[in-house]
Symmetry: C3
Subunit: 203 residues, 3 copies
């Protein structure tokens, strides 16, 4: 049974996490007691497994199998874009941080184990179909920063402009030539998925 982290360790970890989050354009949940509880879970997992796997998911203990749920998990950024918070609600969007809106409940986006295996094999063998990209490439219209994600980031990590200053620079569709700019200002996808499970931040 791992030793519980001391309050000092937890505080230090929260402080470091907060500094790195803000530098990259991310935000920790402003409810610091809630955040400290999650960080205690992260530190317990680090003690147990050797890495800070998500405190709201069951880890296998095998780092390679758990890579996608080491915090920040592979699902944080799409969840922030779609629900205003990550699955644990450790990270929230700026408007949720500011209390302007409540985060939606965040359903589990991680595929079930069988599907994870299938995707891993697919990545190891063929990759995507020829002429396609796995994610579109977004371009910050101000500084030219490029990133490949389902949606552009909330804030440009380089020049700090908000999401609506990004444009689609290269699309994913096989019908496009790879270098077709596609374009236009990025539109935020409407939230159509039905909310299930997990934490709410609606205080």
């Amino acid at each position: 049974m791992p030793d519980a982290a001391s309050d000092g360790e937890v505080d230090r970890f929260v402080r470091d996490l907060d500094r790195e989050a803000e530098a990259g354009g991310y935000h920790l949940n402003p409810d610091r007691e809630f955040t400290r509880d999650l960080v205690r879970g992260l530190l317990a997992n680090r003690e147990r497994y050797g890495y800070i796997s998500c405190p709201c998911r069951l880890a296998s203990g095998n780092r390679e199998d758990d890579l996608d749920i080491i915090c920040p998990c592979d699902y944080r950024d799409p969840d922030l874009a779609d629900y205003g918070a990550c699955y644990c609600a450790l990270y929230v969007t700026a408007d949720v941080e500011a209390g302007v809106r409540a985060a939606d409940p965040v359903p589990e986006r991680r595929p079930p184990p069988g599907e994870q295996r299938r995707q891993k094999e697919e990545r190891a063998t063929a990759g995507a179909a020829p002429g396609t990209l796995k994610y579109p490439i977004w371009r910050c219209r101000v500084c030219g920063y490029l990133c490949a994600r389902s949606e552009p980031p909330e804030t440009c990590p380089i020049c700090r402009v908000p999401r609506d200053r990004f444009e689609r620079f290269i699309g994913t569709s096989g019908k496009e030539t790879p270098v077709l700019t596609g374009g236009g200002i990025a539109r935020i996808k409407p939230r159509t998925r039905s909310p299930r499970g997990s934490y709410r931040i609606d205080r």
Copy 2:
């Protein structure tokens, strides 16, 4: 008529802007009285329109139509590369900041309203011609950072090396295959445009 921002608000805004600028490899005009005046204009626009549109341009009041002139505007980086300052001279290059050279007068690069509409429609429909990119992709030879702009940035935002450490990684020409590296060290385009209008910083 919006309330004028207090001196404390202006100072705080300048300080935040300065920290973010330096973190991203940008520089505020070192004439702090001049900079404070521009920031007063930004804050007045925020009060008036809800966003910090450029204090040196007339905003429409419709955020979507004004996206390109919300500060930092879409034209800042090409203006820094070509003239040593943005249109307002809120942002300047390192050599202008250091007083090594004066910024050139900066002509208005924003297209007239009719042309803006045309470009917006073009982006919404066809995009660029097949086989072309809207901007070349530049690569930092030191850290591999990629960005898509007309010229490479003054300073790599990741590893802080200067512009001449960038190389053209993917060109824009339709004659190139998309993945042709093109290459060579980035050359700074000679300044051939005739200077017109706007502020000078030649003190």
Copy 3:
């Protein structure tokens, strides 16, 4: 004969370098006396040539010919990936910084002058073969950051996750279509090159 830098200048330079290194996900050699000696060499070169060329290599004095060895040099990041330190050992990986392992001896990766000339001409003329990229493009699976390097960076400069959270997004092979995602989790190349020369950090 250039003036030697004062202790104050050296300290200031080390402090600035350290702050920028950490912000970008890099680490200075924790042996501060060793680091201060290297920085004295950098400042002597700045006095002599006008730029901080590598203190462990002979500069030509012509900036354009020396671009690849201005610190941080073009070879730092591949050397960090392969040996745990740059050629000078001014920069080291996190595990070397933490004393968990010693850096390997770092052979000179810079090509001899004739080969440098050949590569420069090649870049200036044809570029790479059609359908190929000079470097693969890596994608951070967490934040979507893209960079073009032989191996992914030790730490994502945007969201701070370690190297094994990167995936190959676009490969270099001419057989791949440019937009084939390739993929899978990045694997660290085994160190097969025989160690030669240079500094060791095995204290």
